[in-house]
């Protein structure tokens, strides 16, 4: 990526509680607009790592930079006000209405009343709850709704960085998925830098642009979903588990698995089944001058060197986009009982094909 701005950076950061080292020499850089997921077993130091970013927990050694500034040189109150924080246990203020909860940060900063009122209305819409909820108290809404309010509250002052500690921890799987979808939808418009803590691997794959796996205070692996499923580390492999791989497919785009060297001929060309280029292939794709795919022909239909006619041209059906997820592509193959799918760009250019095999092979790059 060019021109990436680094919003959060850890350099050899450690945290001791007494003699116990709960965060151990952690290094990472989080880019602007990225969702960085921290995941690991209970007690591995995720929350501690998160809290060191806004200095709710001071670090013992190493350096932490937020938007290029060393946090130890910043006023902690100012630092925290510039970072949205969704805590692990929701932590809504029970004596305040949802409106006052959402506006809490603005009230701390003495933002004019009128602005607060407008912002509360915006936020409640953003998280998809009715306006009337603003006048309720936290105990009068459901757990999932409370978690949404927690997110809205963190967004109130429009911070560039958002820290989220298991923001969807306390809800049933269905609601959880819905909240994840909402977050991703929201992220498309707000484009925040997010540090997202979870211990659900599927959630990590789903929401994370990059994922960092922690174990006993150390950051063991860090990377995209692809990197993570390809990790060799036994702990990481065991931690991911078999089921979560399906969720990884959700975030890996088809273009990673495209077979680009499949044989292609131009419209009007003749075909020679004995052409060495076609060895090992059953089908040949036909494209016009603009690179658009007209269809494909099966080599078995051709006895000898012969021109491609429209009768022999087969239509390509349900092509996928390079940006589609592997999950979608595999789903389509299973659904349509097909071994492969053509990959065509939005503009109609033929890119190649994706097959079961190509999907499997990218998930086992090193084997």
């Amino acid at each position: 990526m060019e021109n990436t701005v680094i919003d959060v950076e850890f350099q050899n950061v450690s945290k001791y509680y007494g003699k116990e080292k709960v965060v151990d020499e952690v290094n990472f850089r989080i880019n602007r607009g990225e969702i960085f997921v921290l995941i690991g077993p209970s007690g591995c130091g995720k929350t501690t790592t998160l809290k060191m970013i806004n200095q709710l927990v001071p670090h013992s050694s190493g350096q932490i930079f937020v938007r290029g500034k060393n946090v130890t040189e910043l006023d902690p109150v100012e630092l925290r006000r510039s970072i949205g924080y969704v805590i692990q246990h929701i932590g809504l203020l029970p004596h305040l209405t949802i409106r006052d909860n959402v506006n809490f940060v603005l009230q701390l900063q003495r933002v004019p009343q009128k602005k607060q009122r407008e912002r509360a209305n915006e936020l409640i819409k953003m998280i998809g709850l009715p306006d009337s909820y603003l006048d309720r108290y936290p105990h009068e809404i459901s757990g999932g709704e409370q978690q949404r309010v927690g997110v809205a509250r963190a967004l109130a002052a429009d911070p560039e960085i958002l820290l989220m500690d298991e923001p969807f921890g306390a809800v049933d799987p269905l609601t959880r998925e819905q909240l994840q979808n909402e977050l991703l939808r929201l992220q498309k418009t707000i484009k925040k830098t997010m540090v997202f803590v979870t211990h659900d691997m599927q959630e990590a794959f789903k929401v994370g642009n990059r994922i960092g796996i922690m174990r006993r205070g150390q950051l063991v692996t860090m990377g995209t979903a692809m990197d993570i499923v390809n990790a060799k580390d036994d702990f990481v492999r065991a931690f991911i588990g078999r089921e979560a791989v399906f969720s990884a497919l959700d975030t890996i785009p088809v273009f990673q698995a495209i077979i680009r060297d499949c044989p292609v001929i131009h419209e009007g060309d003749a075909i020679d089944p004995a052409d060495p280029r076609f060895k090992d292939w059953e089908n040949v794709f036909v494209i016009n001058q603009n690179g658009h795919c007209l269809g494909y022909v099966s080599l078995t239909d051709f006895k000898a060197h012969e021109k491609v006619t429209t009768e022999k041209l087969r239509e390509i059906t349900s092509p996928c986009l390079p940006s589609d997820s592997l999950k979608k592509a595999i789903g389509e193959m299973l659904w349509g009982k097909r071994a492969w799918l053509p990959v065509v760009t939005k503009e109609g250019n033929f890119e190649g094909i994706v097959s079961f095999q190509s999907c499997v092979s990218i998930l086992a790059l090193d084997d």
Partner: protein, 218 residues
């Protein structure tokens, strides 16, 4: 109580009604002063005690000890220093207020969910903002319960003020006792009881209002 004695009591009450009213006002003022000054002094001490628990524990112990000293004894101790009148009485009332308010302030603040405090701090609340916007409002029902105890107690103890010459309804009670005049005693004691009950109800109402807003069953 027979009908005859009831009518004699009522006619006596009617006779001295202005005097009773005057003493009742004195009584309310004495009690109010005690509760207000007591609360104002104990509340910051309670907040301090939550920040410095070691010193705080001493404060709780000392006020707890003072709380157990009989009211007559406290008044007696005070007389040589403060003389007669309303001053030693109010002082005694203040001393009685300390323990319940102090203890409940500590308990109330310490019972605030740490997740809630952390959320507030994480959003950039200053320590003062955490105290005034989170801890005190959340501890309010518990603190209020302490003040409520104190109010009821104070209205009763204020009766003793009459012995130190502070006035109040205790004057009727004690002169009634010494003159073996039941009507006189009752005309002082009944309003004290009513005042105590009213104060209890009123403050209970405030306490429960605050509780129910937070979703705690009152």
């Amino acid at each position: 109580m027979s009908l005859e004695s009831l009518s004699s009591f009522l006619s006596y009450f009617w006779e001295v009604r202005f005097h009773v009213a005057e003493l009742a006002v004195q009584h309310v003022l004495l009690s109010l002063m005690g509760v207000i000054v007591g609360t104002i002094t104990a509340l910051p001490l309670g907040i301090f005690a939550t920040r410095y628990p070691k010193i705080g524990n001493y404060a709780v112990d000392i006020t707890g000890m003072l709380y157990t000293v009989p009211s007559l004894a406290i008044l007696g101790f005070m007389l040589p220093f403060l003389g007669l009148g309303w001053l030693p009485t109010i002082m005694a009332l203040i001393i009685y207020s300390w323990m319940p308010v102090l203890r409940n302030t500590c308990a109330g603040i310490l019972s605030v969910d740490s997740a809630v405090k952390e959320a507030a701090m994480g959003m950039g609340a200053t320590p003062a903002q955490v105290l005034f916007r989170v801890e005190l409002p959340l501890a309010f029902p518990v603190i209020m319960a302490g003040v409520r105890t104190v109010a009821v107690l104070t209205i009763g103890v204020a009766t003793m003020g009459a012995l130190a010459g502070a006035g109040g309804l205790g004057e009727l009670v004690f002169t009634g006792i010494s003159m073996m005049d039941t009507n006189r005693t009752l005309v002082g004691a009944i309003p004290v009881t009513i005042m105590a009950l009213l104060a209890d109800q009123l403050m209970g109402l405030i306490e429960n209002r605050a509780k129910s807003r937070m979703g705690i069953r009152g």
